[in-house]
């Protein structure tokens, strides 16, 4: 067996920690997204954080996988996978949001807009 040169050893260490950091970021952003989906008040707001899983969560994790595979065929696969996730998920999120809009799910809006405030006022009066 050939002894690895010091440079190779350093490269391996760097790669290892790079993968750990990428996976950690992936898990972190997916965690944020999960927290968001559980905490946020309505479907439209939840869809925002759901897209965090699709973008940075999946992005960092798959980047870590691609780095682990290195210059191999499987890394191309991973990039392709990421590409598909990026193309299809916003479309799916939009389809879900639109379906919510069409079936009349009311959004929870901030009290900043005038229309909203007046609506809230009339509601308060009738009650």
């Amino acid at each position: 067996m050939i002894e690895p040169t010091p440079l190779q050893v350093t490269l391996e260490t760097v790669r290892f920690w790079a993968i750990v950091v990428l996976l950690g970021l992936g898990v972190f952003f997916t965690l944020v997204s999960t927290v968001g989906v559980l905490r946020l008040p309505d479907i439209y707001a939840r869809a925002h954080t759901a897209s965090q899983t699709d973008t940075l969560g999946a992005g960092f994790a798959l980047a870590g996988v691609a780095l682990a595979f290195g210059w191999q065929h499987a890394a191309v696969y991973t990039v392709l996978l990421l590409f598909f996730v990026f193309i299809t998920n916003p479309t799916a999120a939009h389809a879900i949001a639109r379906s919510a809009a069409e079936t009349g799910v009311e959004p929870v809006l901030a009290e900043e807009g005038e229309t909203d405030e007046s609506a809230a006022d009339t509601e308060g009066e009738t009650r």
């Binding site: 391996e12 260490t13 290892f16 993968i19 750990v20 996976l23 992936g26 898990v27 997916t30 965690l31 997204s33 999960t34 989906v37 559980l38 479907i43 939840r46 869809a47 759901a50 899983t53 699709d54 969560g57 999946a58 994790a61 798959l62 870590g64 996988v65 682990a68 595979f69 065929h73 499987a74 696969y77 991973t78 392709l80 996978l81 598909f84 996730v85 299809t88 998920n89 479309t91 799916a92 999120a93 389809a95 879900i96 949001a97 639109r98 379906s99 919510a100 069409e102 079936t103 799910v105």
Partner: protein, 93 residues
């Protein structure tokens, strides 16, 4: 220095993703609207794709990625089909 093997790192990450998936499943059960459930399951689908890719790296099995690729496409199909169904009843295909 590498204190743990790379395989373990991937498996631990995959395990964390599964735990997050269970948390996300809470939203799928509670709802309250159909779209909330659909959104949660769509995110679960993305999680699945990531978990499969992590397993592919962790267990060094390339063909896991094939399954992940099929899942990435079919998950999209499922979300769009159900959204379309709720908008125009019966317009699935």
């Amino acid at each position: 220095m590498t204190p743990a093997s790379l395989e373990d790192v991937f498996l631990v990450a995959a395990g964390l993703f599964v735990v997050l998936a269970i948390a996300m499943f809470y939203r799928a059960v509670v709802g309250p609207t159909t779209q909330d459930r659909l959104l949660a399951v769509n995110v679960l689908g993305t999680n699945t794709v990531v978990i499969l890719a992590l397993l592919a790296a962790g267990l060094d099995q390339r063909w896991f990625l094939d399954v992940a690729l099929i899942y990435a496409l079919l998950n999209f199909l499922m979300s769009v089909a159900i959204s379309k169904f709720t908008v125009e009843r019966g317009g699935v295909l």
